[in-house]
């Protein structure tokens, strides 16, 4: 598979006009004379968008082309006012690069970037407002996009979505794309082909695409889940087709999120002849190395660098570090929690408890009911042995349920402080032993048989913890038990 990802460049105004790019404005309110392609109107490049594209190219470890050029892609559609899209066909601003993509089950793959170019978005056709008419909203018309084209290095639906996730984390960290897929900020054209075993390796050796089978392009897939579903369906469809003696036709397909299937949109024969040619209204884009170097010198910390730092600075496991570093807000949250505390414990609490909770209820970090300060406070209570890890989970639950609560106050209020007073624990242990002489005998017997950790000991720990309302320090319970049982 190879993906073409369209990422909307974060910019206040459009690629070639001064119109606002604000999302959610009234239809046709972010539209200028240029966007409507009135006679005699001319495009003028938005320099900020150029800088953003260069920044993204640097973030993708890619070659920045000091010479690039805008071309016209000609076709008729009501939401394309000029009758052509201004794009970069022959000379894109960014050339080859590569990124490391971590897969959920551990391994990391390298995905090559073929190119990145800038282009205009089209407007939006609205077909369902009126049975006999189509309405056009030109707010998006002329908005700056980056099309990021991967090499055919992606070999499974999971890899495809992981690649887009990684791409998203990079552009968001760079501040070059907001990455809000629900708003169409980031969407992917997924190219899928299937080949016989060994075909891909032959392609890698020779660079000859004929080993890869005929590809189909699935247009405009706009969520990670849909990318996986679309790729999965399409690959199966092609395999089934071939196994039934059929042939895959090169075509453009659409993914139907309702049914999870892809269906044909247009065949290769119906493909447009876009009649690309250099846009004579625009001069070629010439950058200086100094300009590029200056942008490079001011790049923010990228997810990979952050991940490396989390491993070296905090001693996190690579996977946890990757999860935390992938998104700037999560990374920042973690660092706030970890500051001056046991970083591994902080990472555990952030990834396991907090992210687990957020994922379960499909919440964004911004909507988290628990702040970094609260979580930090909770970890402090564990660290200074005020509460046990188990109690901490209960307190965490209360932090979710209550507004702006202080974990220390909750512990105090609900009497959850850990009991480390050995006298009190001894008393509890004595009572349990007295009430369960059979169990005492069993532990002793198991120990005598050579079991260093008799199973029945666990039972005693459980009883003791239960009797103390979970507040007893488990280590202290263990030691006192061993001593009293003489093992």
């Amino acid at each position: 598979m190879g993906l073409e990802v369209h990422a909307q460049i974060t910019s206040n105004s459009k690629l070639f006009s001064g119109s606002s790019t604000h999302f959610g404005a009234d239809p046709n309110s972010n539209v200028s004379l240029v966007d409507t392609a009135l006679p005699g109107m001319l495009p003028v490049i938005n320099e900020h968008c150029v800088e953003q594209a260069v920044r993204t190219g640097l973030g993708l470890n890619a070659k920045i082309n000091l010479f690039s050029r805008f071309d016209r892609k000609n076709y008729f559609y009501p939401d394309l006012p000029q009758g052509y899209q201004i794009s970069q066909f022959q000379y894109p601003i960014v050339g080859e690069g590569e990124i490391e993509v971590e897969l959920e089950d551990g391994p990391t793959i390298t995905v090559g970037i073929e190119r990145l170019h800038m282009e205009q978005d089209a407007g939006k056709s609205i077909h369902d407002l009126d049975p006999n008419a189509t309405y056009v909203d030109l707010n998006r018309s002329g908005v700056a996009l980056m099309e990021i084209v991967s090499k055919p290095d992606i070999r499974s639906p999971k890899e495809a979505s992981a690649y887009v996730k990684k791409l998203r984390s990079i552009v968001v960290a760079l501040g070059t794309c907001n990455g809000v897929m629900a708003e169409g900020n980031l969407r992917a054209d997924v190219n899928v082909s299937v080949c016989k075993v060994g075909g891909y390796d032959k392609f890698r050796e020779t660079g000859d695409f004929s080993h890869l089978g005929t590809r189909c392009e699935i247009k405009n897939v706009n969520s990670f889940r849909f990318i996986e579903q679309a790729a999965e369906f399409e690959a199966r469809r092609q395999v089934n087709l071939i196994e039934d003696g059929g042939v895959v036709d090169q075509e453009t397909r659409l993914f139907d999120a309702e049914t999870g299937v892809t269906r044909s949109m247009r065949s290769k024969e119906d493909a447009h002849d876009y009649r690309y040619f250099p846009d004579p209204d625009l001069l070629p884009l010439k950058l200086t190395q100094e300009y590029v170097d200056n942008i490079k010198a001011n790049l923010p910390e990228l997810p990979d660098q952050k991940k490396e730092r989390f491993v070296s600075e905090y001693g996190l496991k690579a996977y946890d570090a990757g999860v935390l570093a992938a998104e700037a807000d999560k990374a920042a949250f973690f660092e706030e929690v970890a500051k001056g505390r046991d970083a591994k414990m902080a990472a555990n609490w952030v990834t396991q408890e907090l992210f687990g909770y957020l994922n379960k209820f499909d919440l964004e970090l911004a909507d988290s009911p628990v702040s970094s300060k609260q979580l930090g406070g909770l970890i402090d209570l564990i660290a200074n042995k005020t509460i046990s890890g188990k109690i901490a989970k209960d307190v965490f639950q209360k932090l979710i349920e209550e507004d702006d609560a202080d974990p220390a106050v909750i512990v105090e209020r609900d009497g959850l402080k850990q009991v480390t007073d050995t006298g009190a624990i001894e008393k509890v242990v004595d009572e349990i032993m007295a009430a369960n002489p059979d169990q005492v005998e069993q532990v002793k017997a198991q120990f005598a048989e050579g079991h260093k950790k008799p199973k029945a000991l666990g039972w005693f720990v459980g009883q003791a913890m239960k009797a103390s309302g979970g507040k007893a320090n488990p280590q202290a319970v263990n030691e006192i038990l061993k001593q009293k049982l003489g093992i």
Partner: protein
């Protein structure tokens, strides 16, 4: 009062400043002449009388206080190609017949900023595609000139035929025009007027209906070389709304145009001596050479070896760009829409009905030369030729400061004489397209009448950004030629 229309722009501006007459007077004088002449000449598509008098009064108020810009109170005509705020702008095509811009082109705005007065909009070939003005949806302009003893209607040239005819017939002091392959110079030559196309990028294309973006340039058609310099220095400006606009100062050519040609080297390109060129044109060219020699210039023979490929290259590049530039006229947002049963139907009917035959012909040629499989053979090859032509000029300019050539291979032809054969019509651009392809400044000025009594012109092609030399060479020829013939006033 009608004498006011005979003035040059320069003299009119002086007279207005000196309060010898008012802007209202000279504007009204022109409106009166237009009223009489326009039914016969069809030069104006719309006369904005009220608008003109309002602008004239505003200019008079300033002039009375000793204020006012460089063109204060001077009535001008505007080619239909320039968008004018609140005044219909059609590019003389049915598809834009209802289009009223809410904005002003930079070139015309520059004129209004100097307090000039707009008399109205001037007829042209549809979307500036044509050399005879016969493709206008308003019907063709009639050339004020006639062959001696004949009343055959002659073409005013194109595409700026309305601009040229109106200046020739004293319907305005000067006019804006545009030149993609000769659309200023050829009609100027056909009507005994002066026209200059500046270096590509001198004049902003903002608000000028696009034909071929890499070739289009605005320029004036005027009654004298000095008027042309005055108009051009006001029309040109660095404009951030046009990416191809040169971000440089516009020189004050009016200050230097009389500096003469002493010591200049003038190149005579041998490739412009084409087969079948008349003795009269040949003689005129020689005459020009003699005048320049007499004024102290040195004449050198130069070669522009790729000239013969210019016309084919032009008729690939220009239609290619046009096919894309005119895609926006789809009936969706403005202009005239024809209803249909499907989207494709709306598109095809709107465009089939809205565009004239010549426009359709060029759009088809353009789409063809850009299409997959033909791009390399046509468009790319044409771009390479274009590069060669530019290199030819650069080579020639190592030997000389400017080139002198005829503007056209013939005098004005009769309406309909060439419209049956597009290729014969295209051949009219043979001496003018090279300057567009190379982006160079080029000027046409009338020199003499042929034996049928029609004006003939010479062309001066300068180095890039060296309009100054064009003006100086032209001024020397103008002074020597003493061309003061006017079309007989048969229309009044």
């Amino acid at each position: 009062m009608s004498d006011l229309t005979k003035l040059t722009l320069t003299d009119a501006v002086k007279g207005l400043k000196a309060k010898e007459f008012s802007s209202r007077e000279i504007t009204q004088a022109h409106l009166d002449v237009i009223e009489k002449a326009n039914p016969a000449l069809n030069a104006f598509t719309e006369v904005t009388s009220e608008h003109a008098l309002g602008m004239a009064d505003a200019a008079d108020t300033k002039l009375a206080k000793g204020e006012g810009g460089l063109l204060a109170g001077a009535p001008l005509g505007v080619k239909e190609l320039f968008c004018t705020k609140g005044v219909r702008t059609t590019a003389c095509s049915d598809i834009l017949s209802n289009f009223v811009p809410t904005y002003e082109s930079t070139v015309t705005q520059n004129l209004w900023n100097e307090d000039a007065v707009m008399l109205g909009k001037l007829n042209m070939d549809q979307f500036a595609m044509g050399s005879s003005n016969e493709t206008s949806c308003f019907g063709n302009v009639i050339n004020p000139w006639r062959r001696e003893g004949e009343d055959t209607q002659l073409a005013p040239g194109g595409s700026s035929g309305g601009s040229a005819a109106s200046v020739a017939a004293d319907l305005c002091l000067a006019a804006t025009a545009s030149d993609t392959g000769g659309s200023i110079r050829q009609p100027a030559a056909f009507t005994g007027t002066v026209g200059i196309k500046p270096t590509y990028g001198r004049a902003s294309r903002y608000g000028m209906v696009a034909f071929a973006s890499s070739l289009d340039q605005a320029g004036p058609i005027t009654k004298s070389v000095e008027d042309a310099a005055l108009m051009l220095e006001i029309m040109c400006s660095a404009d951030e709304k046009d990416s191809t606009s040169l971000k440089i100062e516009t020189p004050k050519w009016t200050d230097s145009l009389s500096n003469g040609v002493k010591g200049m080297k003038i190149g005579i390109p041998k490739e412009y001596r084409v087969d079948g060129m008349s003795d009269e044109i040949e003689g005129l060219w020689q005459q020009g050479i003699e005048w320049l020699k007499a004024a102290g210039a040195e004449i050198v023979d130069v070669s522009l070896p790729h000239t013969k490929y210019a016309l084919p290259a032009y008729y690939i590049v220009a239609p290619a760009e046009a096919s894309s530039n005119l895609a926006r006229y789809d009936g969706m947002r403005y202009g005239v829409r024809q209803e249909g049963d499907s989207l494709d139907d709306v598109y095809s009917t709107t465009r089939a009905e809205g565009f004239g035959d010549e426009v359709k012909r060029r759009l088809m040629i353009g789409a063809y030369v850009l299409s997959a499989g033909y791009y390399d053979a046509y468009y790319l090859k044409a771009q390479k030729v274009r590069q060669r032509i530019l290199m030819d000029f650069e080579e020639a300019y190592k030997e000389c400061d400017a080139l002198l050539t005829p503007t056209c291979p013939s005098a004005a032809f009769g309406l309909g004489e060439k419209s049956a054969d597009p290729v014969e019509m295209y051949l009219n651009d043979i001496f003018t397209v090279t300057a567009n392809l190379a982006g160079l400044p080029a000027m046409s000025l009338p020199v003499s009448l042929d034996k049928q009594g029609l004006p003939l012109s010479l062309q001066v092609i300068g180095k890039a950004l060296d309009e100054d030399t064009c003006f100086r060479v032209s001024k020397v020829i103008e002074d020597a030629a003493e061309f003061d013939a006017k079309a007989s006033n048969w229309w009044s």
